[in-house]
């Protein structure tokens, strides 16, 4: 079992970074196709652009580039969390597909793809694509691996298949959590740690899909936070409390204290170390966040009830006390979210009306202003 997992982690790293530099157009085409299958978009585009230069592979490479650009332009909303369509790729998609047809007029798939892209361009609205069925099926199988009914070998197989199918870090983090449930702590730690470079690479390969730099940065921070929290939790299960504290607190910093699981884990650690005050704080933080699986929420509520019953001051019934504590925390969190631009004058903004005329907000002076920034994507 240990050996299998080591092989798995090594294979995953190799597939993530291991495309050998190759010179022939055929190899570039194959490399582009493989990278695109895994949604390593930047690498795929680079390789395929190379392959368009050789007449032998030009039509196929143009076609594939056209499909990638069409995906980016019209279909990637909601395929992955944080992704948005990139309208800038729409014209490029049609241009590539036209180039494919020009390079090989008999190429049926390219003509068909061109027709579809032109229909997209003319349509009022395109339904976003759902995630690929293969990905959702493999994710569901990994989730099933939590039950000891699934032999560990089958779980590993599902993990490996999911890593090969798409190069995002979800199977690393979900897999590590499942391995913790199965008592495989060391392997869980390895897998979660491997997830960080995988997440970095995947976000970098799809940077423009996030549309906003802050959003891509947020995705990156969340994957680091998730890895730290999972590693910390596995160390806790191994009773390495000092190591667990370091990792769970790293997770807390990266999450800025607002992740249910992380706060719950910190609470469990504090309770195991008989630090009642800290445990109470973290349980309350966790419950004040609107997330977390019901069993963990129940466990946290029960732990708080026990701590409250053992405490000195009991002026109110537990339920009343809990409600007041949670309301106070939610209030505080909201205040913390309302920062940076507060109490400063609204800067002069370069705004235009829908028909392109400049608009000056000083015309609104003396009125209370609700200013909302949005995008239709």
């Amino acid at each position: 079992m240990k050996k299998t997992l080591l092989v798995l982690a090594a294979a995953a790293v190799a597939s993530a970074i291991g495309f050998a530099q190759s010179s022939s157009a055929r190899q570039q085409l194959a490399r582009g196709r493989e990278a695109w299958d895994q949604r390593l978009t930047k690498t795929a585009i680079e390789a395929l652009q190379e392959a368009t230069r050789d007449p032998a592979t030009a039509a196929e490479a143009h076609e594939l580039l056209g499909l990638i650009y069409a995906f980016k332009g019209w279909q990637q909303d909601n395929v992955l969390p944080g992704f948005h369509d990139e309208p800038a790729y729409r014209e490029k998609a049609i241009a590539e597909l036209k180039a494919a047809v020009e390079a090989d007029p008999k190429r049926f798939t390219a003509r068909q793809a061109l027709q579809i892209a032109e229909a997209y361009a003319a349509a009022d609205e395109i339904e976003p694509l759902p995630p690929r069925p293969m990905i959702t099926q493999l994710d569901a199988r990994i989730e099933k691996g939590r039950s000891r009914d699934m032999p560990i070998g089958d779980l590993i197989e599902a993990l490996e298949a999911r890593m090969k199918a798409q190069a995002d870090a979800a199977p690393y983090f979900a897999g590590a959590q499942v391995l913790i449930d199965r008592g495989e702590y060391d392997n869980a730690i390895k897998l979660a740690e491997h997830g960080v470079p995988v997440a970095e690479r995947f976000i970098e390969e799809n940077l423009s899909a996030y549309q906003m730099e802050g959003k891509a940065q947020g995705a990156l921070m969340r994957s680091r936070a998730q890895a730290a929290d999972i590693v910390g939790w596995a160390l806790f299960m191994k009773k390495d409390y000092a190591g667990a504290a370091t990792k769970l607190e790293e997770g807390e910093r990266l999450y800025r204290g607002d992740d249910f699981n992380n706060q719950f884990h910190l609470a469990e650690l504090a309770r195991a170390q008989k630090q009642s005050d800290r445990a109470r704080e973290h349980y309350l933080n966790a419950l004040s966040l609107t997330a977390g699986p019901p069993p963990a929420r129940e466990r946290a509520t029960q732990a708080l009830a026990d701590l409250y019953a053992a405490g000195q001051k009991k002026k109110k019934p537990f339920k009343e006390w809990l409600a007041a504590q949670l309301a106070a925390r939610q209030n505080e969190r909201q205040k913390a979210n309302l920062k940076s631009r507060l109490d400063t004058p609204l800067p002069k903004l370069n705004l235009t009306t829908l028909d392109g005329k400049p608009y000056d907000t000083s015309s609104l002076q003396g009125r209370v202003l609700l200013l909302n920034f949005f995008a239709s994507w």
């Binding site: 979210n337 400063t344 903004l349 209370v368 949005f374 995008a375 239709s376």
Partner: protein
């Protein structure tokens, strides 16, 4: 942003309150379609995404700022937030500022 339409009905005849929506879309056609669909009863403007993010310090959408009568930013909700973007909360922020309260 449909909830802003609901809240707007409360303030539409109030000369002391203004709603401004700013789109940071690049794609005019898509924005047009969206606006056709939404039929907002208040002013919608456009601006460059990078410039607005720099000026107002947000990196998620929608982001809403509440500016008092002296032109000072008093509340902000960065990114969608179920509580802060609820109808009742939006109206509450505006009422607070109308009555000259800050925080």
């Amino acid at each position: 942003m449909p909830h802003l339409k609901t809240v707007y009905t409360k303030f539409q005849n109030d000369p002391n309150v203004a709603f401004l929506l700013v789109s940071i879309d690049d794609d005019s056609k898509r924005l047009e379609r969206y606006l056709d669909q939404m039929k907002f009863p208040f002013t919608v403007l456009r601006a460059s995404s990078a410039e607005m993010q720099r000026a107002m310090g947000f990196n998620d959408l929608p982001s809403t700022f509440y500016v008092d009568r002296k032109g000072i930013v008093r509340y902000q909700i960065l990114g969608f937030e179920a509580h802060g973007d609820s109808d009742a909360r939006v109206a509450w922020y505006i009422d607070q500022l109308k009555h000259g309260k800050t925080h």
